[in-house]
Amino acid sequence: MAGVGRTTRLSLQGLAAYSLPVISFVAGVVLWQLLISLFRIPAYLFPSPSAIVQVFFTGHVNWLQQTWITLNEAVTGAVIGVIVGFAIAVVITLSAPLRKILMPYIVALQVLPKVAIAPIIYILLGFSNTSRVLLIVILTFFPIVINVSTGLTDVDRNLIYLLQSLRAGQATIFFKVRLPNSLPYFFDGLKIAVSGALVGAIVAEFVSSNSGLGFLILNSQYTFNTVAAFGAFTILTVLGLLLYAAVIVLARQLMPWYRSG
């Protein structure tokens, strides 16, 4: 009997864990729809969920193409940012002089709200894909540098002693201890980087583009096409979730030995 009771309680907990967020979300959308209809709020002020769904099928906007442009920029920038960030993290952990030389720039970039650079990049590099990607690189490389350099440094002292006692050199210690130790830190940085990449793509399109979801949002503002802007928000939310989920899946695949928390 006790066993049955436990099973029931467990499954109830499980049900609550998975269904409560879903119920909350669906209820929110329904409430939203009802409030809009009840108060007859015009779509150009605040569109209803059904209006947003309709906007994907009206044919004025090529949603797939616009999404692809933004996603392409975000992913290109993120990949470059991650590579650059990782390289800088390795350099500043391995070389004390280089760390000291680069530190002021890293700290300055850390405190600067990086999107503020966007209009200037546009002046320097013009109305180009390069300038958009560069802003995304700046936004993504940063969390990688911070997290990976922590992961490369924050190692169990005893493991270093162990390898030194076996007469291992710096290279062996790097590849056998520091690098694997940094993996969980890297993935934490990557989670921040992918959301930064989307922010960067949108801001870059605000200032220097004539296509993509960011341009679409800006354009909606001028034309009072609020529904289209909400369509773009919806797609960006889904993209953000998918990128975040991809990072988590990748982390699970590459680190079966890791459990967070």
């Binding site: 005893n158 493991l159 030194q164 076996l166 007469r167 056998k176 694997p180 130790n181 030995w257 890791y258």
Partner: protein, 256 residues
Amino acid sequence: MASVVVLENVGKRYTTVKGKEIHAVKDVSLSVQTGETVGIVGPSGCGKSTLLRLIAGVERPSSGSIHREAAGGHFIVGYVFQDSSLMRWRTVYDNIKLPLEVVKKRDLGNVDRLIDLIGMKGFERSYPIELSGGMQRRVSIARAFVHEPSIILMDEPFTGVDELTKEALQTELGNLIRTLRATALLVTHDIEEAVFLSDRIFVMSPRPGAIVEEIPVNLPAVRDASTRSNLEFVAAAGRVRAKLLELHAMRVEAAT
């Protein structure tokens, strides 16, 4: 009998980040002979871990000298740490294999032999996170033996393990040392642990750690649970305890 390591008047001073000088180890002279297990007992902070780092060669003494004898080949240590310090990204098998990779030994036969000896067959592919605390200690011990080191250095290997598991692990470790005819140096603040595993014990004073007494342990080589009620076991533990208490009292007196 040949010595494996000989320490002559070894001292170690550290300068802290604030510029304060810390005299961690003072004037330590001792030797460890092939095949014996030597225990060093002292209060925490007296320089035990420092002494092991000096012997392992990862730090240099500020004064005195350390002679390391290599029996056919070069001197190399096996290291067991207080909190097992396994690589969490490596399986049991790969953790034990690590020293062989670093010293570039091709023959991996010892890995399987040790997994067998520590009773961890079937867990080769498990990660540290999937093991109990006791199992993690076993793996870290196997890692220390796998490359057949000249001496096994053990730094409070069972701190934080519950009492019953600790006694079982101590018995297993003693058997492993005997089976593999290893030479070992054990530092600990656990008096019973030192007596159970050692052939002789050095008592260390509080910082600056100096060796103040050598106490022989006249117990048979083969030891098990019954050894703990052996009269000689109780007597040796009593002598170590008395010396530590005396040192403690002296320090309290000096401070008041």
